[in-house]
């Protein structure tokens, strides 16, 4: 298929299907079941996250949240790296403007949308076989098919 040369490909961003998340206070905790990563988003990051229910472009996110597109872009890249957001190309024409502050230069403000922390989703718990004659803890390997 040949694309319309007058149209520019705009990535659309959405949450990955294999994600569990919940708003807890001002933050949102996100757990990637496929990526096996968990993370927390600050208040601004949470506002972006909540817009990702449907696939949206960066410009749309900037408009709907009122945040600089550059800051949102940094967050989206990070969330893609964490495996909890996916991007797909879309042939819709770009918006007339990039949203408020779409060309914001310089370092992000402290309240910019960001991941507060992230780490592997792992259990530190060994399953114990603490029975007479079996003093140790079982550490696998399990077949995890």
């Amino acid at each position: 298929m040949v694309g319309d040369p007058g149209r520019r490909r705009m990535p659309r961003y959405a949450r990955d299907d294999a994600v569990a998340w919940r708003r807890l206070g001002n933050e949102i905790v996100v757990v990637g079941l496929a990526s096996k990563r968990m993370m927390s988003l600050n208040s601004a990051g949470a506002a972006v996250w909540e817009q990702l229910a449907a696939a949206v472009t960066l410009a749309e996110l900037a408009r709907s949240t009122g945040m600089p597109a550059d800051d949102i872009s940094v967050l989206l890249r990070r969330l893609q790296e964490e495996g909890v957001v996916t991007a797909t190309d879309d042939d819709t024409p770009p918006a007339a403007d990039g949203g408020p502050g779409g060309s914001s230069p310089g370092p992000s403000a402290p309240d910019a949308p960001r991941v507060l922390w992230s780490e592997p989703l792992e259990s530190a718990v060994g399953l114990c076989l603490k029975q007479p004659g079996n003093p140790g803890c079982f550490t696998g390997p399990f077949n995890t098919s």
Binding site: L24, V125, S145
Partner: protein, 244 residues
């Protein structure tokens, strides 16, 4: 020849109906899980054949001498393994997180006072057995517990590991315990609570969203705090929040 009557192990409100051609093995199961056992029907059938499991990957669970196949839609587990209760313990520890769609299994001691309960969570050496031993009259179990979360809050369930008696209570709070010089209750921000609790959850294999969602709901439902303590009964009012 009539098959021996099954034994039903009830964990966190779920009946695991254990079938085996071996009557003596079922008697050992009933003895091991006494208090948590009855002869009524269960929701999940566990068929346990005593014998050496052949190497037969892929299985749901497999380790030396033991193999288990899981049929989730049929509510059935078929396993082969030795007549050793610790293998059965391990099977249950892996099965329960998978079948608790509205809850999770955590590494912790469960304490209850009437219908109010507290989950005291921590890794090995954090003081779970110490805390349980300080309050034998209130201790339900000292190693693994289950929490189920419904519309009306969270419920704490004792599991038969290791010093345990059956019991259920309304979950009031979760304390992440550790040894310290005095008992103090330190509220944790939600993300920190999630982070720490995640490390003490028994994750189902295969991993499912249910446990993660239950954990997030748990943190949204009840207070979670750090609880350093010394081995003294003065920890009780701190745990329950009654201390000034």
């Amino acid at each position: 020849m009539t098959a021996p009557a099954p034994v039903t192990v009830r964990l966190a409100g779920v009946g695991l109906e254990v079938h085996s051609p071996s009557g003596p093995w079922l008697d050992r199961i009933a003895q091991r899980y006494r208090g948590f056992c009855d002869r009524g029907p269960g929701e999940i059938a566990v068929e346990y054949t005593v014998g050496e499991a052949p190497p037969r990957p892929p299985a749901w669970l497999a380790w030396t001498g033991f193999s288990a196949e899981l049929d989730r839609t049929g509510g059935r587990v078929r396993c082969t393994g030795p007549a050793v209760v610790s293998h059965f313990d391990l099977l249950l520890q892996r099965l329960l997180p998978l079948i608790l769609d509205d809850g999770l299994v955590l590494h912790g001691a469960a304490l209850a006072d009437g219908d109010r309960g507290w989950a005291c969570i921590g890794p090995s050496g954090a003081g779970k057995s110490t805390l349980a031993a300080l309050f034998p009259e209130r201790s339900l179990c000292d190693e693994l517990l289950a929490v189920r979360i419904g519309r009306h809050g969270a419920t704490l369930h004792a599991l038969p590991f290791w010093t345990a008696r059956p019991g259920t209570a309304r979950l009031e709070a979760v304390g992440l315990i550790e040894h310290g010089s005095r008992a103090v209750r330190v509220p944790l921000p939600p993300h920190e609570a999630v982070r720490r609790l995640t490390r003490q959850a028994i994750w189902p294999v295969p991993r499912s969203a249910g446990t993660v969602e239950a954990l997030l709901r748990l943190v949204a439902t009840v207070p979670v705090f750090a609880l350093p303590f010394r081995p003294h009964r003065d920890v009780w009012p701190v745990l329950t929040g009654e201390a000034a």
